[in-house]
Every structure is written in structure tokens, then in C-alpha cells.
Symmetry: C2
Subunit: 145 residues, 2 copies
């Protein structure tokens, strides 16, 4: 298992333990994690802190160059908000745990030149399947449905 | 002047007075402002709190129905992050102060059925022109350049 995807999964599990939505993300630059995050809808009452957004927020203000040399790891296919953020900052590569329980804007990312790699990771799939089964209303809220 | 665009401009000016980037936004539902915000890059050290994102964050968790009945007012053409967020939540209409100093993802929004109306408001244009002239590095950071 890629250690960075493992770190994203650890974030997802941390979110679940907090009563939240189990999606985690890490931003990696030069082989180091510069931001970790997980979905904070429940914990912070936030409609914008998806896992990817929380990782970027926790990385803080970075020069444009850093984003353009970084890879974002996320346990779930990034939605249009998170994909738009990847495009804003020109993050060139996204490693995605799975896209079976939710297909985000991978086509948009790819069409704009982002390298989107999907791992089809079983642990990520199970985390989301269990969560969607247990709290469907919360999941629908998170994806605007 | 539309009172909701005026409220967005007031937010932009508040941000400027705080030493921040002068972009403001309000989310309007059923003729009432349910969230106000302005860019907080400087004030909160945040790479994700653009004006639109801050307005949504301040509106808090809303049912999907509310977003789908709302209009987002923003002083500047929404970047890919903010446009992706508009798409995530299915906000059907965006009223934009100006797109002369920065052209966001209006084409993407329109292609997905969002009604994007541009006011070409001179006060919004002047706010941004003055800001970009005075703090070009800060502005470039905000748009990932």
C-alpha cells in the first residue's frame, strides 16, 4: 500500500471516529505530506470542508510553484468543488482511492491535463459503502442531493 | 443598484479594510441573504476561503433544496474552485459583478445549465484594478499564478 494513500485512509478513519463522513486526503510535495485533512461537515458544520479542501486548508498558503509540484491523495473521487480547486491551483496529479461509490469530475480533470490515477482500493470502497448504508441522508447532503 | 450586489460589494470593501483581497459574495434564498462572505486569504491564512466559499461557509449546512432555489451574488467572476462549488450544490443562478479583471469558469457554468449574469459593474472593476495594481503578488497567489 502506498504510504500516502494509507495516510489519506487514516484521515478518513479519524473522521469516521469523530462521527463524520469518512473521506480523507493528503497533499504531498517533494515526498512529504504538507497538509492532511478529512471531511468536516459534521465536526465543523461546514459545507466546504471536504477531505481535499481540509487538506489544502491545513497546508496553508503556499506559493503557486508548490501546488504545481504536488500530488493530492484522496480516498474518494473528487467532486466538482474539489476538482475545481485542483484546477485553480494547477495540482498536476491526483491519486484516488476509489470511484465506485461516487464518480466525481475525473473527466473534467483529465480534459484539463490532470493525471488522475484510480487505485480501486477495497478499504476505501468498504468505508464508503458502510457509511452510505448507515447514513444516507448525510451522504446525500455532502454531494448536494 | 441591486441590493444584493450592493451587499456583496460591501463585503468586498470590508475585506479591503481588513487588509484583504476585495472580493465579496452573498447567498440569497427566497429574497433573503442567508450567507455573507469575503475573501479571507490574508485574514485567516486560508487558500480556500474565496468570497463565494466564505459566503457558503457562513450560510452553514443547508438542505440540497435550499441551494437549488438560491442565487449567488459575487463581485468577481468565479474561479474554478468557486464554480465547482456552485455545480456541486446545484446553485442555478450566479450574478457576477464583473469579469473584466479576471475571467473565471463562466463557460463551464453555462455549459452545465447555470444562469450566469454579468453586471459589468464599475465599482467592482475599480476595486479589483486598484487592488491588482497595489498587490499583484497577493492577487497572483489567490488565483494560483
Amino acid at each position: 500500500m502506498d504510504k500516502f494513500m494509507q495516510a489519506a485512509i487514516d484521515e478518513a478513519k479519524l473522521g469516521l471516529a469523530e462521527g463524520g463522513i469518512p473521506i480523507g486526503s493528503v497533499l504531498v510535495h517533494n515526498g512529504e505530506i504538507i497538509g492532511r485533512g478529512h471531511n468536516k461537515r459534521v465536526q465543523s458544520g461546514s459545507p466546504i470542508l471536504h477531505g481535499e479542501m481540509d487538506a489544502l486548508e491545513n497546508a496553508g498558503r503556499q506559493p503557486a510553484r508548490v501546488y504545481k509540484e504536488s500530488t493530492l491523495y484522496t480516498t474518494l473521487s473528487p467532486c466538482s468543488m474539489c476538482s475545481g480547486t485542483i484546477l485553480l491551483y494547477g495540482i498536476p496529479k491526483v491519486v484516488i482511492g476509489e470511484n465506485q461509490t461516487f464518480m466525481g469530475e475525473e473527466s473534467l480533470l483529465t480534459s484539463r491535463g490532470v493525471n488522475a490515477q484510480v487505485l480501486h482500493n477495497q478499504e476505501c470502497i468498504t468505508l464508503m459503502n458502510d457509511f452510505i448504508r448507515d447514513k444516507p441522508e448525510l451522504w446525500n447532503e455532502d454531494i448536494g442531493e
